[in-house]
């Protein structure tokens, strides 16, 4: 007897359904095929691995990002996949005579989904390197897992400086920016212009916490004061109560320790609340040009932010942005996507130099090589996994010539000043 009153299932129906049998049949058939395929793959894999430097006869790059949430349009999404694919194409599509494959998946900003996907990629699909990893919580989980499984991760999207700090791993690389660099860039610029008291609105997960911590440190070091902080869940729609608290705190500067859609929403709502008109200054700690585009240059005018790259700085960068627009259906040429491209080329070069895709050998090559391209000027990957390169302080302008011409470079921050010194990063790889 079947009873389920709350759902109203008490009625009788007379369907003639044989779906169960079909389903079971399918499972069994699939099982047999899969078992056969597994056996075949094992045999093939064994022979390929011993004969060549590339395991499984293919180099697989996995782009694990936020394909549907708040970080889709400026960090991850199809734009990131397009950048990686463009790099593979420019590299020639093969390395050491073996094809390069790019796969992608959506982690939905959930660390459990991200880590389950990464686990399957490494175990089953034999993915050699995982990139993107936007959302620090996901990145921390995946980097740890991948390192345990002897696989390189090259994170571009996440910001948390813990990735190469206390949570650093042997095979984890952080490429493009981190919260420390953002804090130094934007924090210093704002405090020096008189913004001495701060109130933070922080995204409540690893990235926000790291950004809050790093920026507070910079502000206090320069003699400023931190008056308060509000923790906000990711993908919040209504910032009004947090903005009111910020307003009531009387702080000169409201620091937005969030990213992507959250930054766009909070800046827009702060404008509607008249925060800026009342004399408070907004400091967006992680802003991309795509965010500025969504906010509107009229609202964002005068906003200063730190970026790992800007497309309008030199001919090489402009050229890349133009070619990227063609392959990515005009996705925003944000610094994260440029980093995705740059790291793919660097990774493939390292495989070429090492003559194998073995994680140890490739990681060693990556540490040795100088990364000097349109994205990273004088870049170097440290032992803790952090890419050191120059950062830029940008200021939003109005009336740009094209859609993405939204800011001017107001300062260049040399890599060694922007990033934390290797000795202070808190990474204890030798101890592990």
């Amino acid at each position: 007897m079947v009873h389920c009153r709350p759902f109203g299932f008490t009625g009788m129906v007379e369907p003639a359904i044989t779906i169960e049998n079909d389903l079971m049949g399918d499972y069994e058939m699939k099982g047999i095929y899969l078992a056969g395929a597994c056996a075949a793959a094992l045999l093939l894999g064994a022979s390929a691995a011993s004969a060549e430097g590339i395991s499984d006869g293919v180099v697989k790059i996995g782009v694990l990002g936020d394909m549907s949430g708040v970080y889709k349009s400026s960090f991850s999404g199809e734009g990131a996949v397009a950048a990686v694919k463009m790099a593979v194409k420019d590299f020639g599509g093969t390395v050491l005579g073996k094809p390069i494959e790019v796969i992608s998946a959506d982690h939905q900003n959930k660390a459990d989904i991200g880590s389950a996907t990464a686990r399957q990629w490494i175990d089953e699909q034999k993915v050699d390197m995982i990139t993107d990893l936007t959302n620090s919580a996901v990145a921390l989980a995946v980097q740890k897992l991948a390192s345990d499984k002897h696989t390189i991760t090259m994170a571009t999207g996440p910001g948390s400086s813990d990735l190469t700090g206390k949570a650093c791993t042997k095979y984890g690389i952080h490429y493009g920016y981190d919260t420390h660099a953002l804090a130094v860039g934007t924090g210093t610029a704002v405090v020096k212009n008189g913004g001495t008291s701060w109130y933070f609105i922080t995204a409540d997960y690893a990235f926000g916490h790291a950004l809050l911590h790093d920026t507070s440190e910079v502000v206090e070091k320069l003699g400023g004061k931190v008056l308060g902080n509000s923790m906000v869940p990711i993908a919040t729609q209504d910032f009004s109560s947090y903005l009111l608290q910020a307003q009531n705190s009387g702080a000169k500067v409201v620091g937005l320790a969030n990213a992507g859609g959250d930054t766009v929403n909070s800046i827009k709502q702060a404008h509607e609340f008249g925060l800026t008109d009342a004399g408070q200054q907004l400091a967006g700690l992680l802003v991309t040009i795509s965010d500025v585009q969504s906010i509107g240059t009229d609202v964002a005018k005068g906003l200063s932010f730190t970026s790992g790259w800007y497309w309008n700085t030199d001919e090489k960068s402009k050229d890349w942005a133009k070619r990227y627009a063609e392959v990515s259906d005009n996705a925003a040429p944000t610094f994260v996507r440029a980093a995705d491209y740059s790291l793919t080329i660097a990774y493939l070069n390292a495989i070429k130099a090492a003559g194998t895709d073995d994680a140890d050998a490739v990681r060693e090559e990556l540490g040795k090589m100088k990364i000097d391209d349109f994205f990273a000027k004088g870049g170097q990957i440290r032992k803790d996994g952090l890419l050191i390169h120059d950062m830029y302080l940008l200021t939003v302008k109005q009336g740009g010539e094209s859609k993405w011409d939204v800011a001017n470079v107001t300062a260049t921050i040399p890599g060694k000043d922007a990033y934390v010194a290797e000795a202070d990063s808190g990474c204890s790889l030798d101890a592990k």
Binding site: C4, P6, F9, P233
Partner: protein, 322 residues
């Protein structure tokens, strides 16, 4: 009179035969799954199957619809994870601790909720589960939005390395089987008969002198503890406990698994869990659209085969012991 007895006798032998076949399929699946399914995925299937079976004990056999079972699943996951990671307990002890914690939580929530019936019961369990979710978000040891990461798998009994996928798999399979047998035994005991009588007609059970409240509470605690066992095992498999485990959507999913597989059947929740988790897995490239697809399947289930997969199969084969 004689004919009807004969019919019952025949259907029983037949039911036993089918029952044996289903047991054989289940055991065969448990033993051979790693050969054709990715082991971590197989372990995930088993954890959710156990969760659904535990839930079915309450909804299918006692007639109590709890809409907050994620609280027990998540509490088991978080506490086992914390015990193993921070307190350094061996995995089995951590899992047992998580199970015990879920049982205690089940006692508290059950004690409060069974004072009400039907939709009010469901709402109270949902409200209390949301409180647990909030704890999961705010307590310092849970890691908030980041979840509890990097739980070591460790060694079972000190010498079986759970980092070996096959060892881990057979450990999970054993946990599942033990949980499943506990539920099977509960259903087929006199205690289980009382639960069914409460489901069928609570006033009559009361008038026969059964302490209905106490029976309901015990069923609730067993269900909560086994949900906690499933959650704790899951956190060791994935080395991870996250807010998803505590989220109300997880409570909804387990209802879906149970209904899709066949409410009040023994094997139904297992089939339901396999179906839902496989669908989520196969359709994961669709992102959040998975929810829409699963919602549509649920509607089809309600419209076309209300007894669920195993429930309809049992009806076609004219047996009640599946």
């Amino acid at each position: 009179m004689a004919t009807s007895e004969q019919t019952i006798g025949r259907s029983d032998t037949r039911g036993n035969g089918i029952n044996l076949v289903l047991w054989a399929i289940l055991l065969l699946f448990l033993l051979t799954a790693p050969a054709y399914i990715y082991t971590v995925f197989a372990m995930q299937l088993l954890c959710f199957a156990l969760f659904a079976c535990a839930f079915n004990l309450l909804l299918g056999f006692t007639g109590l619809l709890s809409f907050g079972h994620a609280a027990f699943f998540g509490a088991g996951a978080y506490l086992a994870g914390h015990a193993i990671k921070v307190w350094g307990l061996p995995p089995l002890a951590g899992i047992l601790l998580g199970t015990a914690a879920a049982a205690v939580l089940g006692y508290v929530i059950g004690w409060l909720a069974i004072r009400r019936q039907g939709i009010y019961f469901a709402m109270i369990t949902l409200a209390l589960a949301q409180i647990i979710y909030f704890f999961g978000l705010q307590l310092p040891f849970t890691g908030g939005e980041n979840g509890l990461q990097g739980i070591p798998r460790g060694h079972l009994f000190g010498f079986l390395d759970l980092n070996q996928p096959l060892v881990m798999y057979y450990f999970v399979a054993a946990v599942f089987l033990i949980g499943f047998l506990i539920i099977y035994r509960t259903i087929h005991s006199p205690f289980g008969q009382v639960l069914k009588s409460i489901r069928e007609n609570e006033p009559r059970a009361l008038s026969l002198g059964y302490n209905v409240t106490r029976f309901k509470l015990i069923a609730f605690i067993i269900s909560a503890a086994l949900s906690g066992l499933a959650g704790a095992t899951k956190s060791v498999v994935f080395q991870f406990a996250s807010l998803t485990d505590l989220h109300w959507q997880t409570s909804g999913e387990v209802i879906l698994m149970t209904l899709l597989g066949g409410l009040g059947t023994i094997f139904g929740p297992v089939v339901g869990a396999l179906t839902v988790v496989s669908l989520q897995h196969e359709l994961s490239s669709l992102g959040s659209w998975v929810q829409v697809v699963i919602g549509a399947i649920f509607i089809v289930c309600v419209l076309v085969f209300r007894r669920g997969i195993i429930g309809e199969l049992a009806r076609l084969l004219k047996t009640s012991s599946m």
